[in-house]
């Protein structure tokens, strides 16, 4: 062995050379660093050390600079000259290479200050990143082979076993069998010839802890095996490692050579009577080889198939001899237990699960990587404190533990402590430690399908239950995700899953149904949604959704097709596609909250397609150019339908029924039609003439709108019921909720909806100079922007942060641009007045506290943070509920939220012939949701009048026509960007109520439409 030389250097650059960082070119970085160090004359002072996996694989290549502990990530060749000069020569660490947690802004210089590292407890991974795995001396210097020395000279084999038993260590490969007990069973077998095996056949998708341990610290595994061999009485060991792990294999070979050279493997180790040798056996990567009897078969040269147990390998294993198999992590943990003692080890963890466990944390998580944590840590701590939470602020949905043999644990169990027992109770397993995090965009049916596809592929085929059973499971799951699921499929899945469990010989078959059973247990609704309602709310199953935008749209707008037609410049055809499903495109083009854009696939790496503005472009084009899409009633029916309320639900219902040929009368209590659209949305977002255009079109179909007619006052509901064949109630939710704090009945405290209505109806409104609006929804933003236009100093108080604000994001932005001061994390607690006059509002600062079960942090008041804000007019925009006091429908069923109770599928109320929909049923909701109710109600009313059975037909989402995709030039592919929405300048806005947002030009619209990825075409090909 060469003389040890690293001691000469003052700085050690610990560059990760685990497989993940190597794929990120860490070897090239090493070459570049060496060259640059030489160039700047630092090669005598600074050394680059290639370490094993550091664990923080998400941000590789990573490098820790010792002794300072500065952690650099995403190191590139380009930055090396700067880095060498600034940090290694001048001692100024380079900020831009430091890690900044996704939720924060300030970079963290030191490795141990980064949550990902500081929350971990390293036992199996104790040397990761600290030593060069190819230099045995560095392992020895960190107490390596001391445990072996102790075991050989100070302990008897029985004492070793007692110590391991006492430590409570359980097998880290999956099943969690007590390690010491296994050793004892093997030791007690008669015979001189015994074997030990290290199972490094790690095959779970997304799991790589064993590879990492072998790559980072191969001697820890060797030392563990030596101690185990001594305890059991074995003289020969094998490391069974899959051929896909070349780097691990190479490091293991080097380590074995070095250990052999030092006499740590071989004859009479440390001059005792103990002799032991280790060989490497390469596996071909069959998943079943992780099963011990198959693994043994593979070493013996037989086909890797499991055999019946008992006899267990400890009785009759390799070549019929007693054989003890443990996995990599178990072996790597042994030396620490012997060195530091069982008491120390068992002080970590829970009652039945001792010590730490290495997990590979992957999936929808910010800090992908390898983590070692004490048993008993909660899933929440792993996901949020170490994993840094879910990317892009999305919602945590579930976590798959234990790989394909494990189960899916839902977000509601986020506070579950992780140990063998708790995971089993939750329907999953510890397994080897794979953790796959899933967010709201993950479909559980798809997940189950994925894992069954994997195990079906990997089934060795020996047992029919596993071989054919998994094929059948897969077929059913494929059918469900195609939208062809049948009633009875769930029962079939469950029965089949249990049969496979019972009838399969080895762990592969016995556990493969787990992903199906656990998702069925926790997400049955989602399966039913696929089978019965033909919906995939995670927007994953292509066969069901066609495209995310169309599937998520409450009124199923055929987005890819109208966007595709815009790209071709065919505007008239495009607006026809829009009008087919949407009677209010001018309105949706302005005020829709765009769930489609939030789920647009293009938005995953770039801006989403500007779907709303494209729709607005088409609707404006139609209005301006007079290219009216003609609509005509199908027939002329004599039946009459009364619709109570002329908001989006009522108008849409009227439109659909009129097209069917019914005589429709809409009764509106206010002086103008439109409901919330005309009464509550200010002109600067939705001009009156735009609304009038759409309402006139609907009137053009023969719909009669009677304004100033209040049902319950001017005409009774009973009378309506008698005079009309059916009634649809869509009176919205206008009644503002109170804050329930002292003083809020003072004069000067007004309701946002009433305020907006007064403005929209042109009534005189008196408000003071200091205005405060309370709330975070669209009404709050609208009220504040109106107040600004009245020349008032305006603040908004909202008790959560901007990220949680329910109002449309671009509207929040514009409110800020218009000078509205939004105070986040502030909640009113007391309204102060003197002599009956409003004076101030006392508020308290909120803090984001503990996470609730959905993974969102709840706002909690910060004690002692009370403050007062002066105010003349306080506008409440908390929320609304329906006001059904005027309706004399006292026989209608009403919920505790004062909403009307309907059958969610048919929208029929408890009174025959009376239907209800929109906000009066759902409480405050979006325009498109109300419109969807209007359409459903029309469909049901039609059936009702025709005397047909009231039932919905659910179908998978499909585009109605085929529109060819426009080919982009290479230049366009590179340069196309979402055009910035244009607004009139802020200084001109506050003078009047003119529309603020300007639409797209033709050229803009075509370019933007070209950017669409046309997900619909993918579904077409798949079908």
């Amino acid at each position: 062995m060469n003389e040890y030389s690293s001691d000469k250097y003052r700085l050690h650059l610990m560059l990760c050379a685990g497989t993940a960082c190597v794929s990120n070119k860490s070897f090239k970085i090493k070459v570049a660093l060496d060259e640059e160090l030489k160039k700047q004359g630092l090669d005598r002072e600074v050394i680059v050390v290639m370490t094993g996996c550091n664990g923080f694989c998400a941000v590789g290549p990573v490098m820790t600079v010792m002794p300072d502990g500065i952690f650099y990530h995403s190191v590139t060749n380009e930055i090396i000259p700067h880095l060498v000069e600034e940090h290694f020569l001048k001692g100024r660490p380079v900020k831009r290479l430091m890690f900044t947690p996704p939720t924060e802004k300030i970079a963290i210089p030191k490795m141990m200050d980064i949550g990902f590292f500081s929350r971990q407890t390293l036992i199996a991974l104790r040397n990761r990143g600290l030593i060069d795995p190819e230099i045995i001396d560095e392992y020895i210097a960190r107490d390596g082979y001391r445990a072996l020395a102790k075991a050989l000279t100070e302990m008897s084999p029985e004492e070793i076993i007692t110590e391991v038993k006492k430590s409570g260590l359980r097998g880290r490969g999956g099943a969690g069998f007590p390690t010491g007990l296994k050793w004892e069973l093997c030791r007690n077998q008669p015979g001189d010839s015994k074997y030990i095996i290290c199972n490094a056949d790690e095959g779970d998708p997304g799991a790589y802890m064993d590879r990492s341990i072998v790559e980072a610290d191969p001697h820890s595994v060797i030392e563990g095996m030596l101690i185990g061999a001594r305890a059991i009485g074995a003289s020969k060991g094998y490391v069974y490692i899959r051929a896909e792990y070349p780097l691990a294999m190479k490091r293991l070979e080097i380590a074995l050579d070095q250990a052999r050279e030092y006499g740590l493997i071989g004859e009479k180790i440390f001059d005792t009577d103990f002799s032991f040798d280790i060989s490497i056996k390469q596996g071909a990567g069959a998943f079943v080889c992780g099963e011990e009897t198959s693994l043994i078969g593979s070493i013996e040269g037989r086909p890797p198939e499991p055999r019946q147990r008992p006899p267990y390998p400890v009785e009759s294993g390799l070549w019929g001899k007693p054989t003890n198999i443990n996995n990599v992590e178990t072996w790597a943990t042994i030396p620490v237990i012997i060195d530091r003692g069982a008491d120390w080890f068992s002080s970590i963890g829970t009652q039945l699960s001792k010590g730490t466990k290495v997990f590979s944390l992957v999936g929808k998580i910010n800090n992908t990587g390898l983590v070692e944590v004490p048993m008993g840590i909660t899933l929440r701590e792993i996901i949020y404190d170490i994993g840094g939470g879910i990317p892009k602020g999305k919602k945590f949905k579930a976590i798959q533990t234990g790989g394909p043999s494990g189960g899916c644990i839902p977000a509601s169990l986020i506070n579950l402590p992780v140990d063998y027992e708790k995971l089993t109770e939750a329907g999953s397993i510890m397994g080897s430690g794979g953790l796959i995090v899933m967010d709201e965009d993950t479909c559980v049916v798809d997940v189950a399908k994925y894992f069954i596809d994997f195990t079906n592929d990997e089934s060795c085929g020996k047992c029919a239950s596993c071989r054919d059973g998994s094929s059948e499971l897969l077929e059913i799951l494929r059918r469900i995700s195609r939208g062809d699921g049948k009633e009875g499929d769930l029962q079939a899945l469950e029965e089949l899953a249990n049969a496979i469990k019972d009838a399969s010989m080895c762990g592969l078959g016995q556990t493969l149904p787990n992903p199906v059973l656990s998702t069925l247990k926790y997400f049955e609704d989602e399966y039913i949604e696929h089978i019965k309602y033909k919906r995939c709310s995670a927007l994953v199953c292509k066969g069901i959704i066609s495209s995310a935008c169309q599937h998520i749209c409450p009124i199923s707008q055929d987005v890819p097709n109208y966007v595709g037609l815009i790209a071709q410049g065919k505007f008239e055809e495009a607006i026809k596609v829009v009008r087919k499903e949407n009677p209010l495109p001018l309105i949706c083009g302005r005020v829709c909250n765009t769930p489609c854009e939030k789920k647009c696939v293009a938005g995953e790496w770039d801006d989403p397609i500007a779907i709303r503005l494209l729709k607005r472009f088409l609707a404006d084009y139609e209005m301006r150019h007079g290219v009216v899409v003609e609509e005509k009633p199908k027939s002329d029916k004599k039946e009459k339908v009364a619709i109570v309320g002329s908001g989006p639900a009522g108008l849409t219902c009227a439109h659909s029924l009129a097209l069917e040929g019914y005589k429709v009368t809409v009764l509106e209590s206010q002086e103008i039609p439109g409901g919330m659209l005309s009464l509550c949305i200010p002109d600067f977002r939705l001009p009156k003439e735009v609304l009038k255009y759409e309402i006139d079109r609907i009137k053009g179909l023969g719909v009669e709108i009677k304004t100033n007619t209040t049902v319950g006052k001017d005409i009774s509901l009973n009378k309506l019921k008698d005079e009309y064949n059916a009634v649809f109630i869509a009176i919205g939710a206008y009644k503002g909720l109170k804050m329930k704090i002292p003083g809020e009945n003072t004069e000067g405290v007004i309701d946002a909806i009433e305020f907006l209505m007064d403005i929209n109806l042109g009534r005189q409104v008196e408000i003071g100079d200091l205005v405060i609006v309370v709330g975070g929804g669209n009404s709050a933003i609208d009220a504040a922007r109106v107040a600004r236009r009245l020349g008032k100093d305006t603040k908004i108080l909202y008790r959560r942060t901007r990220a949680e604000m329910p109002a449309i994001k671009s509207e929040i932005e514009e409110a800020l641009n218009e000078g509205v001061d939004i105070q986040f994390l502030a909640a009113p607690i007391n309204v102060i007045s003197s002599n009956g006059r409003l004076e101030a509002v006392e508020c308290i600062r909120m803090e984001l506290g503990e996470m609730d079960q959905s993974g969102r942090r709840r706002p909690v008041p910060a004690e002692g943070s009370e403050f007062k804000v002066g105010v003349d007019t306080l506008i409440l925009a908390i929320s609304q509920e329906p006001d059904i006091s005027s309706l004399d429908g006292n026989q209608l069923n009403i919920s505790k939220w004062n909403t009307l109770v309907v059958d969610p599928e048919t929208l029929s109320t408890n009174i025959k012939g009376i239907f209800a929909g929109g906000d009066v049923v759902t409480g405050p909701n979006t325009v498109t949701e109300a419109m969807a109710h209007g359409k459903t109600a029309a469909e049901m009313i039609d059936k009702y009048i025709k005397g047909e059975k009231l039932e919905r037909k659910y179908e998978v989402t499909r585009p109605a026509l085929y529109v060819q995709a426009v080919k982009l030039t290479e230049e366009e592919t590179k340069s196309l960007k979402r055009p910035k929405a244009q607004f009139i300048p802020t200084d001109r806005r506050l003078k009047d109520f003119a529309e603020v947002e300007l639409g797209f030009t033709e050229a803009d619209a075509i370019l933007e439409a070209k950017r669409c990825l046309r997900c619909d075409l993918e579904a077409k090909e798949e079908k």
């Binding site: 062995m1 040890y4 690293s6 001691d7 000469k8 003052r10 700085l11 050690h12 610990m14 004359g41 005598r44 002072e45 010792m66 002794p67 300072d68 502990g69 290694f88 020569l89 001048k90 001692g91 100024r92 600290l130 030593i131 001396d137 560095e138 020895i140 210097a141 960190r142 107490d143 390596g144 082979y145 001391r146 020395a149 000279t153 050279e261 030092y262 006499g263 740590l264 440390f270 001059d271």
Partner: protein
């Protein structure tokens, strides 16, 4: 390399001790040479080289040697800060290789501050 005895484990550890301590970020003392542009111009590289040579010659294994930026007192460069474990840091100014060697011998190894070269005890507070 012949077969190891248990005692050899200690010898190897001793040989690798400096590396171990450095990677654990631990040591009985830390010397920081200020290597801003001003420091380098005034000869900080020479100071660093002197220390590197002395460390090797004297087989010093438990002292961390590092660099940092300009200490803000450019006219008194080259400068170095010596920090013994659990003691306040001391800044030395106007250093030469000879002075540095004396600081190493008396302060780092001997525990006595060389007051003639010292600027002041302590460091500025970073807020």
């Amino acid at each position: 390399m012949p077969k190891l005895s248990i005692k050899d484990l200690d010898k190897i550890s001793e040989r690798v001790k400096k590396t171990t301590l450095l990677r654990e970020g631990a040591g009985r003392a830390k010397i920081t040479v200020h290597m801003g542009t001003c420091g380098i111009a005034a000869g900080a590289r020479g100071i660093m080289n002197t220390l590197m040579d002395e460390f090797e010659k004297q087989e010093i294994k438990d002292v961390i040697l590092t660099s940092s930026g300009c200490a803000g007192l450019c006219s008194r460069e080259p400068m170095a800060t010596v920090e013994l474990k659990d003691e306040a840091p001391v800044k030395y100014v106007d250093l030469t290789p000879e002075k540095m060697r004396r600081v190493l011998a008396e302060h780092v190894n001997g525990g006595r501050v060389v007051s003639e070269y010292a600027l002041a005890k302590g460091s500025e507070r970073v807020s």
